[in-house]
Amino acid sequence: MSAVLRIEDLRIETTGDAPRALVDGVSLHVDRGEALGVVGESGSGKSLTVLAALGLLPVGTRVAGGRIAIDEHVLVDVGAGVWAGERELRALRGRTAAMVFQDPMSSLDPLRAVGAQVASAVRVHAPMSRRAARERAVELLTSVGVRDAAERAGTRPHQWSGGMRQRAMIAMAIAHDPLLLIADEPTTALDVTVQAQVMDLLAEVRERTGSALVLITHDLGLVAENSDRLAVMHHGRVVETGATRAVLDAPAEDYTKRLMAAMPAESERTAPAVRAGEPDALVADRIVVEYRVPGRKAPVRAVDGVSLRIAAGETVAVVGESGCGKSSLAKAVLGVQPAIEGAVVLGGEPVRKELAARTAAERERAQIVFQDPYSALDPRLTVHELVAEPLRIRRAYTRAAVTKLLEDVGLDEGHAKRLPGQLSGGQRQRVGIARALALRPKLLVLDEPVSALDVSIQAQVLELLDGLQREHGLGYLFISHDLGVVRSIADRVVVMQQGRVVEEAPTAQIFRDPQHPFTRQLLDAVPRLDGPRRGRRPLRVS
């Protein structure tokens, strides 16, 4: 069988005086119609490997060795001195091999109608009139499940949801029936339910066009359900490869086993840390949050009368799709986006709804750990200064206090002098936690605290959070879309849909016996290691 993509002994280095190998000795192949999953944590070189195949390496990196061929056409053979030119690559991109990127928000031009962007993708390789291209674009959009495509084609990306945008990206990718589709974390930015729809669509599109797929992801569950073969990458090398089912059932390499073990366990928290007798960390009563949207008269109601109680030492997870109001609820608790109705009680004492009206003592009772460890920390300040900031605000700074806080989250003096840019994602999140703990809050709002982290790091941070909760009797308001993580850390789960709570129950009950149809839908959409294969069989070769 001929390979659509064949990578042999690929080596990618940084450019510059002291080249560093980012990918070394990687060999991969994808046969016609086959789906290959490439899994690994950030920095494993999985994206670089595949970007190199299309000649799309970022500035500062280069192919230093090996051979890449797409559909038997050699693009690079360092040994033989073959280097494809830009023109050659352009002829290939989009026609033989097409790419679906991670973030549908940034991969479409915000100023151009979506239909026009799909039409451009059509016209790149197929000389036809604008009109014909537009018609073809509408056909393509219809084929990827965009309803009323003819009408919607004229609207711009901001009027499309994340899932719909990803459909448009897929429409562009399949415009020329490519032999190979490369999807780099295609659903990472999407909700689980939307993720399931997009993966179904990819499977269906492949059925129709016979394209092979390279699926790059950090999510083992996703490859389990969507690939025929699997390559596990670690530190720029392929550590294990084989049929997906075989590898997952009996992983041969330690790293694969570690990766699987780090997946949130499908079991609930066994030892709750709830402290009886202490005042509740949070009592939120019938909270209503509304936003004014420019151009619309009636405000949008993001949270519609939600009540929530979190005991000291208890973890309550709020789950739901994006836009369900879970983040707005958290903001209302903190006062960043004040509730227009309802009441907030923190640590047994009522506080004012607006942050600006709260006294410093009121503010310190609820602290937040942000989702994005990159924007959460001022890039100019050292770790020590970052953690010292809340103490300085309250004029309670001592060197020893900061050292103790850093120690509590597993960082030492060596880390204290570093800047955020010199830390890994997990370390940054630890700094964020230390900063939130500095003022001894009663309630910690955890807004997707581990969703930006690799699974193995995720497990460490969750463990840290668990320990801190037991030590300080903290109440956690845990906001997440990742039900696996929620299951392993939460005592109770609150499911939100369109600003309202649709179901609330202890974690075990939610996962064993979900009552509300929406809860069931959420649970079904989570990809699982032992899940049924979503894609159809490898396609027949003509």
Partner: protein
């Protein structure tokens, strides 16, 4: 993926490497600054003293006047040195005033948004629409032209560029979590502005200021040429070129020498500023095939 790209594109710590253009710029500007600093220390430094018997000496003819003398017999080297000090000093003041005014306005607009921003945008547009040179001529027609007046008018009307850039940076910073965080801990707006917004914005201000220096030198010199600004007998590049142009046929060095020094300063500042601006350019993806 994004993190990976960033890590590759901006390795930390970055090694500071001067660009060839910036080195040339530094040498050019350095020469002017050296002239300005060293000549006043020489025993023969006398920019004002007239000696009509030694008028219009060519350069290198008299060791007492290395660059010759002007129509009133004043030492040209001394006058050029003093003119450089005057023009560069004025430029520096004007640039600093604009940078401070513009950045403050931009930060306020970007951070607070809403009505303040709308008001400031209006103010910017009005300022931008004003013909600064004509305005200055009009003011000078009413008041007496002086260096102070030029500094004041130019210093208060050339800030829109700073305001535009810093407004955008401040608006994007305001949405960053690290700006929200101190608020939830009891910090106030002043704390956030001084600890997080200003320190993250001044590098941007510096870059604009670096590119602005050359422009301001040219504008002040044109005004001096028109007789607005520093008044005789104190020299400036613009007024020296104006005086020299009457003797352009027979004694061209009178206009040429200050012109050359001005060229060195403007060109030097411009080349040097590329060191800053070029850092931020460059695409994310490699181009030009596999190699």
């Amino acid at each position: 993926m994004t993190a990976q790209l960033a890590a590759v594109a901006a390795p930390t710590p970055r090694r500071w490497r001067p660009r060839p253009g910036a080195v040339v710029g530094a040498v050019m500007l350095g020469a002017v600054l050296l002239l300005t600093a060293v000549v006043p220390l020489l025993p023969a430094f006398d920019p004002m003293g007239q000696d009509l018997r030694a008028a219009l000496l060519p350069p290198f003819a008299d060791p007492a006047h290395p660059l010759g003398t002007d129509a009133l017999g004043r030492d040209l080297l001394s006058r050029i040195a003093l003119a450089s000090a005057v023009t560069l000093g004025m430029t520096l003041l004007i640039v600093i005033m604009n940078a401070v005014i513009g950045s403050s306005i931009g930060i306020l607009a970007g951070y607070f948004g809403g009505r303040i921003e709308a008001l400031i945008t209006l103010l910017s547009n009005v300022t931008l629409a004003m013909p600064v040179v004509l305005l200055l001529i009009a003011i000078c027609a009413v008041l007496r032209p002086s260096a102070g007046l030029t500094i004041l008018v130019l210093g208060c009307t050339w800030w829109v560029g700073y305001a535009r850039v810093t407004r955008n940076v401040a608006a994007s910073l305001r949405r960053q979590d690290f700006v929200v965080s101190p608020l939830t801990q009891g910090g106030d707006t002043f704390w956030v502005l001084t600890r997080h917004i200003v320190p993250n914005i001044w590098p941007h201000t510096l870059i604009i200021a670096a590119t602005d220096i050359a422009t301001i030198v040219l504008i002040t010199s044109s005004l001096e040429y028109l007789g607005l600004g520093v008044q005789p007998p104190v020299p400036s590049w613009g007024s020296m070129i104006f005086d020299g142009q009457r003797h352009l046929g027979a004694d061209p060095w009178l206009a040429l020498l200050p012109g050359i020094v001005m060229l060195l300063a403007v060109g030097g500042a411009q080349f040097l500023s590329q060191q800053f601006t070029a850092e931020t350019r460059g695409g994310l993806l490699r181009k030009g095939g596999m190699r």
